[in-house]
């Protein structure tokens, strides 16, 4: 059973979003990281660019596959988690502590429309 954090919102593409003030942190869920297996590279998005909801924003490469990260809510990338550049395995170690990038401003309405923890749990059960 994969771990789900109560306070976060989730997309059906297995990204999570956490709001801190006017900043939205985006990462991948425990389900996603365990499906991917050992992560060997994270391609970080360029900062200063606006991405729409559902747009491919970066790629995570694991020993099994190279998978796209689908941006869960629209916003401008203000920060990418540079730590992942040399240590992509941090995502395997704790995927909820280690985000991929930060959006600000972001689309509040789209955030409200994401799955909450219970809904995401239900969604995972259907897979």
């Amino acid at each position: 059973m994969s771990k789900i954090v109560e306070s976060l919102r989730y997309s059906k593409d297995h990204e999570w979003v956490r709001i801190e003030g006017d900043r939205a942190f985006v990462g991948i869920s425990d389900h996603a990281q365990s499906e991917l297996g050992e992560i060997v590279y994270v391609e970080l998005p360029p900062t200063g660019e606006r991405y729409e909801q559902g747009e491919e924003i970066s790629t995570v490469e694991s020993v099994k596959a190279a998978s796209p990260i689908i941006n869960p809510i629209a916003g401008v990338v203000v920060e990418a988690n540079e730590e992942l550049d040399g240590s992509p395995e941090l995502i395997n170690e704790d995927c909820y502590k280690n985000h991929l990038y930060v959006l600000s401003p972001f689309d509040q309405e789209q955030y409200d429309g994401l799955l909450d923890a219970d809904q995401y749990k239900e969604f995972l059960a259907t897979l």
Partner: protein
């Protein structure tokens, strides 16, 4: 004894059909529709014996006209040490399969690794792949990197001075992939920087240029890299790798991608191919380089070893999201380049490049004294230069007269571009292989024709 080339006897076929429980060849192919089956036999003549074929090929080969080549336009007659053919013909190299299994392919993997190291040294770039099919193929892969690296950009600018064939291959690729190739015009034989400035906008993913260019001229890229990087666009320089022994390297011009064809390094003319392409990039683009890359590592006992690495961009990993469909390389041709460079060493490479330069300039200087031809653009060149004739009749006569003397005087540019505006341009290439005597024969014949 004369054997047919087909290895299976009727008995073999019967045994195989029996093993899979099928009565006849027709039954084996019965899933195919009737309309797909040939009613008559294929209209080709009956097989010939090995000896007959040998004689036939020999008689065709005898129709070849031999001469002293001053032909270039992308394919050059350089001196190739005999080590190249001797070593690259070793069965272990000739028959080697893709080195997927590192444990049984260390020799080939090391050879490719050495190739990559040499390409990096020559171009000044950080990372080279294991080779591509040819220079035009490398140009397409560079364009692919550009498009993949800049969001919402679908245009690649290409100088009109790159090799005509590379431009055609780029256009073919762009048409299939829904990308746009915009051609930057030339001014006096080199890329027109003013026109370039007017073409730079957000849709531009990058620029591909070539030096020495399609006329043999060396181009000046001062300021271009910075200008492109301001736009978040990439810069690719295509160059004859031998010329890089003398001229500024792609890295020194600030290029993100170095591309080209290694034909000048150890590959025979062979009617224009097979050749070998190279592509090398900066560390920032390491994850976008297409095809194979061989990396050095250590085994569990700490011994140095080699293995394929960083293949995440290939389509068997990224499937439909792959940014390149290259899944192979040109290992044997790359090996020939590697052996060639190992035999020459850096000093030998510089010597070959310098001699080519000196001999080409000697011939150009003396030809320019003759009436009816000019070196119209006063621009620097290396081993090849454009000789412009005053009229087509004079050019034809020139080519014919020199051919009568056993000299292939040059390549008509219009034969590659099919453009009327190129009809009076003759590309003359002079490598280190041309002797003083050969140059004098050329000049004497030229003086007789152009008086």
């Amino acid at each position: 004894m004369i054997y047919p080339y087909i290895p299976h006897t009727n008995e073999d076929r019967r045994a195989m059909l029996e093993a899979i429980g099928v009565k006849s060849i027709d039954e084996l192919f019965s899933v195919m529709g009737e309309d797909l089956l040939l009613e008559d036999s294929v209209p080709i003549s009956h097989g010939r014996t090995e000896d007959e074929v040998q004689r036939m090929i020999d008689s065709i080969a005898q129709r070849n006209v031999r001469g002293i080549p001053f032909l270039g336009a992308g394919c050059y007659d350089h001196i190739v040490p005999s080590t190249v053919k001797a070593l690259s013909s070793l069965p272990s190299f000739v028959t080697a399969y893709t080195p997927y299994q590192a444990e049984m392919s260390q020799g080939l993997l090391q050879a490719i690794y050495e190739f990559q190291s040499m390409i990096c040294e020559i171009t000044g770039m950080d990372v080279s792949n294991a080779s591509l099919y040819d220079g035009a193929n490398a140009a397409v892969e560079a364009a692919g990197i550009m498009i993949a690296s800049k969001r919402k950009a679908n245009t690649v600018l290409v100088s009109s001075t790159i090799h005509p064939f590379a431009l055609r291959v780029l256009n073919t690729w762009a048409a299939g992939a829904d990308h746009v190739i915009s051609v930057v015009p030339a001014k006096e034989g080199t890329i027109d920087l003013e026109s370039l400035e007017g073409m730079l906008d957000d849709s531009v993913a990058g620029l591909i240029v070539q030096t020495p260019n399609r006329y043999g001229l060396l181009e000046d890229y001062t300021g271009i890299a910075d200008r492109l990087h301001e736009q978040k666009s990439l810069f690719a320089i295509m160059a004859d790798p031998l010329s890089l022994a003398l001229q500024r390297t792609p890295a020194e011009w600030g290029a993100d991608i170095a591309i080209g064809d290694t034909q000048a390094l150890g590959l025979p003319l062979a009617f224009g191919g097979p050749s070998c392409g190279y592509i090398a990039v900066t560390t920032a683009l390491m994850r976008r380089i297409p095809g194979r890359v061989v990396g050095a590592t250590v085994d569990k006992e700490g011994r140095r070893g080699y293995t394929l690495t960083l293949q995440a961009r290939e389509q068997h990993i990224k499937r439909e999201r792959a940014t390149s469909n290259i899944c192979s390389n040109q290992a044997l041709a790359a090996l020939m380049t590697t052996i060639h460079l190992s035999s020459l060493g850096w000093d030998g490479m510089v010597e070959a490049a310098k001699q080519s330069y000196a001999k080409a300039h000697y011939l150009a200087y003396h030809l320019a004294q003759l009436p009816g031809v000019t070196l119209v653009w006063d621009k620097p060149f290396w081993c090849e230069f454009p000789l412009i004739f005053s009229d087509a009749k004079r050019m034809r006569k020139f080519l014919q007269e020199l051919r009568n003397e056993g000299i292939f005087a040059g390549v008509r540019l219009s034969s590659l571009t099919r453009k009327a505006s190129d009809e009076l341009v003759l590309l003359v290439a002079v490598t280190e292989k041309r002797s003083r005597e050969e140059l004098e024969i050329y000049l004497a014949a030229a003086r007789r024709v152009l008086k």
